[in-house]
Symmetry: D2
Subunit: 266 residues, 4 copies
C-alpha cells in the first residue's frame, strides 16, 4: 500500500485513499469509499473479488474504470496479482489496456406502488429461503410471460460476470463476459428437470413469492439485501450503468477460467 | 377417517386416535401422538411424507409397523393411496405384507462434554447456513479420518430413505432402501469436484463448523433442529432403532420411483 | 395426409408432395424433398423433431417458413399437434402467426487447404469418440484463443434451438431461442470442473482432435456427418441462413418447456 | 525397473518378469502376464490405473495381492508413487500394510442358452451406443424387477472402485471402496430425472437392449468387450473373486480423493 502510494505520487498522480487504505499507510486523511469513487479517474482495488464488488457498488452509476489486484491468489474479478501490480499500472497509464464492459442488473423490490429497495448487482441477485423454511415457491415471469413456478431453496439471477460465482456452485453454465444475457439458476430445485435458463438481457424478470412460503430474503452480490414481505414483487432488468473493469494485460479470460477451475489437471 | 374408524372397529380392532384425528371424527377423546405410538400394534398415517416423518419421530425407538396412506398423490414414504386403503389393510390384518426396515440416523450435538441435543432422522440431517451467511466451512470426518472441508451452502447426511428427498434436489444419487449406507451430499459446493459420497453405515460421521462461518443450523427431517454454536460438534451414526414401514402390496420400490420421477416420459 | 391435401386444394393452394408424402396419399407424382423446398411458400412437416430437422436441411439456405406438426406428442420443434393442424393453417394463411428466426451453425471440416465437408446445423454439431475409444482429447479455440483441451467422450456445440436436445441430456443449460449465442457442452468430461460455456454467436469455434485419440466422428443434427482424420480441423460459426419456424399460435415457448419437461409436477 | 529387480533379488526374493518388464531390464526370459500372476505371492505393477486393471484381469480369480506404483502422478488404483516404492516394499515384506479387498463384477453375455462372453470387471461394465446410433433403449432389471427403460447414450454399472473412474465423469457419486454395493449411472439420459442408483451387491442386474436400437457394445474396464446382438442379455452380478489391493501405507483413501480431485483448492 505504502509502496503503491509512493509509486503513484512519484509519477505526479493525485492519490485518494479510502478510510481503510488511509489507516494502512498511516496518518492520511481518509475519504469514504463513495467520495473516492466520485472523484478519481481510476479505482485501484487491493483485495479479493468481494472487495471489488463493494467498490463497484460504491461507484454507483459513474463509469470509472476499476483495476482489481488480488492480494492472494487470482480472482475471477481481480485478474491481476500483486507481483504484476506495477507492470499493470504502467500499461494503464499509457492507455495500453482493454476495458471490459460488464453488464449489471438493476434489482427493484416493490410492494404495490411503493419501492422498498433498489440495488445494482454486478454478480447476482439471489432470492432464497431463510434457514427455517424448507423450500420456497417462486413465480417467475420474463417479459410478462410465466417461465415457471420454482419449488426450490431459491433462485439466482446472474450476470455473465456472476456466472462463475454462486450460480456455478448451483449448477449454472459459464457465460462469456460480453454476452448480452443473464441466467436463471434454481438452487436445489424440487423438480429435477428445472435447469438453468439463459435469457436475453432485454428480458425483464419479475419474481413473486407464492404462499405458503414463510420467510424469504433477497441478497445482492452476497453483500446487501432485505427480508421480503408476502406482497413484494422483485423486478430484475439490465442496468443502464455497466461496470468498466480493466482487463489483465497478462492473461485472457479463458486462461483465467483454466487456472481458477484447474482445467489443466484432473 | 370416520369410515376408517368404523371399518376397523367392525373387525373388533381397538382404535386409538391422536388429537388431530380425534378432532376429525368428532367428540372422541384424543391421545397425544406419542401416547398412541406407545400403545398400538400398527400405526396408520393418513397424510403426506411429512406427516409420516413426524409420526415416526413420535414412535421414538419402539419398533411398531407404520402404514402410510397418502391423501393426495403417491409419496416416497406413503406408498398406498386412498383408494387402496381398505385393500391394503385387509392384507395387513392377515399378515400378507412385507415390512421394509429402514435405517435411521442418530444425530447428537455436543459442546465439549455437554449434550445439546439428540435426534433421530429417518430422512436426513442437514447442516446449512442461515440466510445471511454466504457459505459455511464444514470439517467432516468419517471414522475419525478427515473426509473434506466443505465450503458450501451446507451438507446433507441422508439415509437411503432420505436419498429421494432433499439430497436428490441437491444432486445426490438414489440409494436402494435396504442399502447399509448413507450419503453425504454437499449443497452448492464452492469446490466443483466435491461430489456426493456414499459411506457404509458403520462409519461414524463428525461435523464441525470452522471459522469464519457465522450462523449455522442443524435441521433433522426438515422438521426439528437447533442453531449451532461455534464450539458444537455434530455426531451422526446409525441408530439402533430402525423404522418399520409396511410396504405397499400393490407396487414395488422401482415402480414408485418410475411414477414419482416420470421415468416413463421425457 | 389425404385430408390435409384436400383441405389445402379446396382453398386453391397448390400442394407439392415429397416422395414419402406422395406414397401416403397414393398415386401422386412425388418430388424430392429438396425440389419441394425450392418451390413452395410454406413447408408443412408432419412428423417429429427429427423429420423437421431433415426438412430444414433440405431447404438449404432458402428462407422458407416451416410449420412443424407433431403426429405424436408435442415436440420442441414441432410445436403444433395434429388436433390443431387446421386451426394453425387458418392462422398461417391470413398471416396471423409469428415467425421464430432460428440461428444455424455452419460447420466446416478442413484438412489443410482442402474442404472435406460442410454442413448446416439447426440443433447441434457433435464431435465424439466412436465406440472403441475411451476418451478424446479435443483442443477448442474461440476467436483464435484456446478455450480448453477437453478430455471427454465428446463435445457438443449447440444453438439455442439445440439447447433442449442432446446438450440438455449432457448437462447443458436451456437457451432462449432468440439468444445470439451458442453453447459448448462437454460430454462426460474427465475434468469435473469443465462446465458448459455459453459464447456469443460472433465467436468462431475451431476444434482439433489431439493425439493419442483414435477414432472420432462428427455428427450434425444427429443425422449426417463423417469420420475425422487426424489432420482435420472443424470450424463452427454462425450461418448467414437461419431457419424460419412458424410459432405455435396456441402456446408460447415457456409453456412448451413446462409441458415437455413436466415442470408442473415433480 | 532394473533397480527394483536388484533390490528384490538382494533380499533373496525370486522375481518373475512379464514380457514387457523383461524387455526393459534386457535379456531376461519373459513370462506372459498370466504366467506371472499364477506363480507369485505379490504382483508389483509399475504404471497407471489402466495397467493395474489389465494385471488384475490377468490374475483372473487367484487372490494374489497387487501393489500399484504409479510412474506418473498418483492414481486412484495406483496409490504409491515412484519415490515411495522401496519404503512401501519394506512395509509389504514385513507384513505392515493393509489389504483392501475390492469387489469385482462378473459380467456374462448370453444369447438364449449360449454364453457369448464372460468378463471380470474391477471398475465397470459399460453398455453404450456405437458412434452412428444416437441413443439406446436399455431395459434394466434388478433381482428380476424392472428398474427402468433407459433412453440414453449408455449405462455404466460400476463397482465402488470404479465409482471414481468413468461413472464420476457421467455424474455418478463416489462410493467408499468397502461398500457392498454398485452403482448404475446412465450416460446422457434423455429423461432428465434418471439419476444414478446405488444397489446392494446382492442384486443381480439384467440388461437387455430394446429395438429400435441399432448397434450397441459392451466394454469392460475400458479394455475388452464385444458388439452386442439384438437377442443378447447381459447379466451383471458380484464376482466371488475380489481383487486384493495393497493399500498405500502413506495416505488414506480420503487423502487420495482430496489430492486427485483438488478439494483443497477451488
Amino acid at each position: 500500500m505504502r509502496g503503491l502510494e509512493k509509486w503513484l505520487r512519484a509519477r505526479g498522480l493525485l492519490v485518494l485513499l479510502d478510510a481503510e487504505a488511509a489507516e494502512w499507510v498511516g496518518g492520511q486523511p481518509g475519504y469514504t469509499r463513495e467520495e473516492v469513487a466520485e472523484r478519481v479517474d481510476l479505482l485501484v482495488v487491493l483485495g479479493g473479488d468481494g472487495t471489488l464488488l463493494s467498490v463497484a457498488r460504491a461507484a454507483r452509476e459513474r463509469p470509472v474504470p476499476i483495476l482489481g489486484v488480488n492480494l492472494g491468489t487470482l480472482g475471477f474479478l481481480t485478474e491481476v496479482v500483486l507481483d504484476e501490480l506495477f507492470a499493470a499500472l504502467e500499461r494503464v497509464l499509457v492507455g495500453d489496456v482493454r476495458i471490459s464492459v460488464r453488464m449489471r442488473l438493476e434489482v427493484e423490490v416493490r410492494c404495490g406502488e411503493k419501492q422498498r429497495g433498489r440495488f445494482l448487482a454486478l454478480n447476482d441477485a439471489v432470492v432464497n429461503k431463510t434457514a427455517l423454511a424448507r423450500m420456497i415457491n417462486l413465480e417467475t415471469r420474463a417479459g410478462g410471460k410465466l417461465v415457471s413456478e420454482y419449488h426450490a431453496d431459491g433462485l439466482i439471477v446472474a450476470t455473465p460476470t456472476g456466472s462463475t460465482a454462486y450460480s456455478l456452485s448451483a449448477g449454472g453454465p459459464i457465460l462469456a463476459p460480453e454476452l448480452a444475457a443473464f441466467v436463471l439458476t434454481p438452487i436445489c430445485p424440487h423438480t429435477l428437470t428445472q435447469r438453468p435458463i439463459v435469457l436475453p438481457e432485454a428480458s425483464e424478470i419479475e419474481l413473486r413469492v407464492l404462499p405458503p412460503t414463510e420467510e424469504v430474503q433477497l441478497t445482492v452480490d452476497g453483500q446487501e439485501g432485505l427480508i421480503l414481505s408476502p406482497e413484494d414483487h422483485i423486478w430484475v432488468r439490465r442496468s443502464q450503468a455497466p461496470v468498466q473493469l480493466v482487463e489483465s494485460p497478462f492473461r485472457n479470460r479463458f486462461e483465467i477460467l483454466r487456472q481458477k477451475l484447474h482445467w489443466g489437471q484432473r
